[in-house]
């Protein structure tokens, strides 16, 4: 009996956190012990694969027998023995653990370019990357393309920077190429400081060679011999895999002196950032590499003229670089046609919040927000209704239902008051308070302000203070106008993108959900019943049957009442934790 068996275990960060490594070793153990007793397998390997995006279902495991793939979800080490016995040995897949329809919907509506290798190949092995066509693009660029030709291809692919601002990558490279200098740098921005974002992380962990290949091509296009990958130190797995990839490239002659047998040298180093959001900003990032405090510097010069150590520098995002090899291999037209007239290609988003399917997704630019939320995301969780989509990370805005048919690209999102940013998408349903949501994001940006300029350092703090007083029931007439004035002030006067975009969550919610602010201020009510200071919990006596579940659950002893008779919550003692609300099976507790 000859079987060709492959087992793929999700070992991205989500997978590792859910026990991917343990699942992997459980499979290894079963296989090797079985292999010792009877050599019934011709080929069998347990590969470590990077992120496959569908984090809600981690740990995901593919069992492929003679080319037939079965995907299991939520696999724990103690489940491995059964899969091994029933499926691998006896050929009967364990049906109750197999992923359902949602998994296929999630994947089928996407177009995977940047993520195409993630979850499919072993990121720690350069040969796995080469086997899927890796480094062909770089070889092509070195063997048969002039720098101008590379720049032209990138320009006509319509690729725009995936770090947020959407600057056309080809034009950036052209500037880098035109400027004469003894030293030039290529930098990859892998700082990814947005809370909840893990697009770049997944690429660096799941397909590190694609990022490096993109950088090598950029080096050739701009005549640069030195590169840095700036990765936050909180991404140890990304750092480890990138370093392994760099070392393998050096051994293979793809990095170092005389790469691909030419007289061109390119030296690549990793620089670990210490985890400041602002260090993702290009000038702050370069100061950080220089050993200075990561503070943005005024753009008297473009980075392409004077960047790192005042030398011409081309800086791109991880995803931007990872697109490059595909563009070189498949041609500019292919990429361009994937997107809209204004922006080519696909974009990776991290879809989270109140949708059924959460995780990383990759879609062509130009799909509608509705497609993303209702097809790929599978719609809103529970029987709730959609309220808003927050895009662009902490400095993005909230988009209401009326704009769900917006086709996603840089300009269209800006038009509706949000941004593309690095690709965060948080779905909010009717249980989300928009004032509280705005406060949540502003808390982050104001704390991460580098402190250099007045509007961002003090202005965002003052906005936050106003929001705090509104959500705690102390809002005053005029607060909305003050928020608007401050928001526009900070946007207009800040030095860098952090300050310029920090008011977005507030300004966009004021634009679309102004009535919620008004209820908080005038009626002292939180319509979504989220803001603690504005809600009270009480028992509906007609429904309460006195089961006592709430009383037992309450950590503050605020529930009064005898068994089998209606209970009552003492508002003086209640700490509004909501435990009773969740504990009551009869929906007898209400919050208003």
């Amino acid at each position: 009996m000859n079987k060709d068996i492959a087992i793929k275990v999700c070992a991205g960060t989500g997978g590792v956190a859910s026990g991917g490594e343990e699942v992997l070793s459980a499979f290894r153990n079963s296989i090797s012990s079985a292999g010792l007793e009877a050599t019934i397998y011709e080929k069998c390997s347990a590969h470590r694969v990077g992120c496959r995006g569908f984090c809600a279902k981690d740990v995901l495991v593919d069992v492929i027998i003679n080319g037939e793939k079965t995907t299991y979800k939520h696999i724990k080490p103690d489940m491995v023995a059964r899969i091994f016995d029933e499926h691998i040995m006896k050929g009967n897949p364990v049906t109750e653990w197999i992923v359902g329809e949602a998994y296929f919907n999630f994947h089928n509506k996407q177009t995977k370019v940047v993520l195409s290798h993630c979850g499919e190949i072993d990121p720690e092995d350069i040969n796995a990357y080469i086997a899927v066509g890796g480094y062909k693009a770089a070889k092509k660029a070195f063997a048969s393309m002039s720098p101008e030709e590379i720049v032209d291809v990138v320009k006509s692919s319509n690729l725009r920077g995936r770090g947020g601002a959407g600057f056309p990558t080809g034009i950036k490279w052209e500037l880098g190429l035109r400027i004469e200098s003894d030293i030039k740098y290529v930098i990859c921005n892998g700082d990814e400081g947005d809370p909840g974002a893990f697009m770049d992380r997944s690429v660096m962990e799941g397909d590190p060679h694609a990022v490096i290949e993109g950088m090598i091509i950029c080096a050739k296009a701009t005549g640069s011999h030195h590169g840095y990958i700036y990765v936050r130190a909180e991404y140890p797995l990304a750092v480890k895999r990138l370093q392994m990839a760099i070392d393998q490239c050096k051994q293979s002659g793809f990095l170092g002196n005389n790469i691909f047998g030419t007289d061109f040298g390119f030296d690549l180093k990793i620089f670990q950032g210490a985890g400041a959001f602002v260090c993702g900003e290009a000038t702050a990032l370069m100061r950080s590499i220089e050993g200075k405090r990561g503070m943005p510097t005024p753009k008297l010069w473009r980075s392409a003229e004077k960047g790192l150590w005042d030398k011409p520098t081309v800086l791109n995002n991880v995803e931007t670089f990872a697109n490059i090899p595909r563009i070189i291999m498949n041609g500019a037209n292919w990429y361009r046609n994937l997107g809209t007239d204004r922006s080519g290609g696909t974009k990776v988003f991290s879809l989270s919040g109140k949708v059924k399917n959460t995780g990383l997704i990759e879609v062509p630019l130009g799909v509608t927000l509705r497609d993303i939320i209702f097809d790929i995301g599978g719609g809103i969780e529970g029987e709730k209704s959609f309220k808003a989509l927050q895009t662009g990370g902490p400095s993005g805005g909230c988009i209401p239902a009326e704009f769900l048919d917006t086709e996603v690209d840089y300009e269209s999102l800006a038009q509706v008051g949000s941004i593309m940013g690095s690709g965060g998408m948080v779905v909010l349903d009717e249980t989300s308070c928009m004032v509280n949501t705005a406060k949540f994001f502003l808390e982050f940006t104001q704390a991460e302000s580098c402190g250099k300029c007045t509007p961002c350092r003090i202005g965002t703090k003052r906005m936050l203070e106003i929001l705090e007083r509104i959500t705690s029931g102390n809002g005053k007439e005029g607060d909305i106008e003050l928020l608007e004035e401050l928001g526009h002030h900070i946007r207009a006067t800040s030095l860098c993108g952090l300050g310029m975009t920090a008011p977005n969550p507030v300004l966009s919610t004021l634009r679309y959900f102004r009535n919620e602010y008004e209820s908080h201020i005038r009626d002292k009510k939180c319509p979504a019943a989220v803001c603690k200071d504005l809600i009270t919990y009480s028992v509906l006596e007609e429904i309460c049957n006195g089961c006592g579940a709430c009383k037992r659950a309450c950590p503050a002893d605020a529930v009064r009442g005898k068994r089998k008779s209606p209970h009552r919550i003492d508002p003086e003692i209640c700490i509004k934790c909501g435990t009773c609300f969740d504990a009551c099976k009869f929906k007898a507790i209400i919050k208003i």
């Binding site: 405090r293 302000s449 250099k452 003090i458 004035e485 006067t493």
Partner: protein, 365 residues
């Protein structure tokens, strides 16, 4: 050279000048708090915003190069409103104790608040509060008054080459401090004090000595041959502060001695007239000094004399010594505090008049 128009007036400036430079050339006032012409561009305070025709939003004039044909507006109702709000924000995180502040009347922030008439503040809120720990005798730091213009950090690094302080923390908690928030322990040149636009950094010895009605007396620093220009702040015949102006040969920079070493002026121990030693103090044995291993001034008796008397006395003694023991029995030691001319004359005197090469100088001839 590039020519541009500011508020309707044409001006030609050198390439790589900023719009602010160009406006200053025309004497057009643009408020600034973080700009310093000798330090690297910073762009932090955001007060110097101006409008450029064709630009979507205001830009900071201190960090924008002047370009050929630019048309610039430095004051408009919307610009003034932005500046006012920025000032309000700065003041909302600033103690209101101008009354007792060392820099009142000499503070750029106070002056701007005055010009913009800011009395009420719409943005009152949390302020930074710090505990003081300054055990040095020179620099007093009241960091609540700091507006984070970064001039102290830049001057310390870029001009002084010391780097004793930098920014720390993020958000509203950002502050300027020595490494690990330790006590300041540096050269104490006080360059930071000289550029601080507010009362955050002051000289410790300035405290409670007077802020108004002092006379400014221009002089030259007596400490070394560099000859830095000093401005003495004199009040009731007492020097209460020393500063230096930007348009001097030393560009306003001073060292610790020039800036803070003025205590000797009014010291009771200071020699103001020449003294001639007449005899050892009573009971002092010249071979056994009293207080230390060396024979000092405190072991002697002196007579106050005029300069003529003193010089005559020296001339006589030198002549006697030379005649009796020969030229090489005399040596001359001069000082780096003297000017080049004085030092030249001194060595000439020793060589040509006394006739010996025994001449040196604390910084060597």
């Amino acid at each position: 050279m590039v020519t541009l128009k500011i508020d309707g007036k044409k001006v030609t400036v050198r390439k790589l000048s900023t719009v602010l430079d160009a406006a200053r050339k025309l004497d057009i006032p643009i408020p600034t708090l973080c700009h310093h012409p000798e330090l690297s561009p910073f762009g932090g305070c955001r007060l110097c915003l101006i409008e450029i025709k064709g630009y979507p939003k205001p830009v900071a004039s201190c960090t924008t190069f002047a370009k050929e044909g630019m048309e610039i507006i430095t004051a408009s109702p919307s610009l003034e409103k932005l500046r006012r709000t920025t000032l309000e924000l700065i003041l909302s995180d600033h103690p209101k104790d101008c009354m007792v502040c060392e820099r009142a009347g000499d503070c750029k922030l106070q002056e701007l608040a005055y010009f913009y008439g800011i009395r009420e503040n719409r943005f009152e809120g949390e302020r930074r509060i710090y505990t003081k720990k300054d055990n040095n005798p020179f620099v007093a730091r009241e960091m609540e008054k700091c507006i984070l213009c970064g001039q102290c950090v830049r001057i310390c690094d870029e001009i002084q080459g010391v780097g004793a302080i930098d920014f720390a923390y993020r958000g509203l908690k950002t502050k300027i401090c020595p490494p690990f928030e330790k006590d300041l322990d540096c050269e104490f040149c006080g360059q930071c004090v000289s550029v601080c636009p507010t009362g955050a950094l002051t000289g410790k010895m300035w405290a409670h000595k007077g802020r108004q009605n002092f006379k400014e007396v221009e002089t030259v620093c007596p400490y070394c041959g560099c000859g830095c220009n000093l401005t003495l702040h004199v009040w009731r015949n007492e020097v209460i502060r020393v500063s230096s102006k930007e348009d001097t040969i030393n560009e306003g920079w001073l060292c610790a001695k020039g800036r803070f070493g003025y205590g000797f002026i009014h010291s009771p121990d200071r020699l103001a007239k020449p003294l001639i030693r007449t005899a050892p103090k009573e009971g002092v044995d010249l071979n056994k000094p009293q207080n230390s291993s060396r024979f000092t001034i405190h072991d002697s008796q002196f007579k106050e004399v005029s300069w003529d008397e003193a010089l005559d006395y020296i001339a006589v003694k030198l002549k006697e010594t030379k005649e009796k023991y020969g030229s090489d029995a005399v040596g001359g030691l001069s000082s780096a505090r003297c000017t080049n001319e004085e030092n030249y004359l001194f060595q000439k005197f020793i060589r040509a008049v006394i006739g010996t090469n025994n001449v040196d100088h604390c910084a060597r001839y």
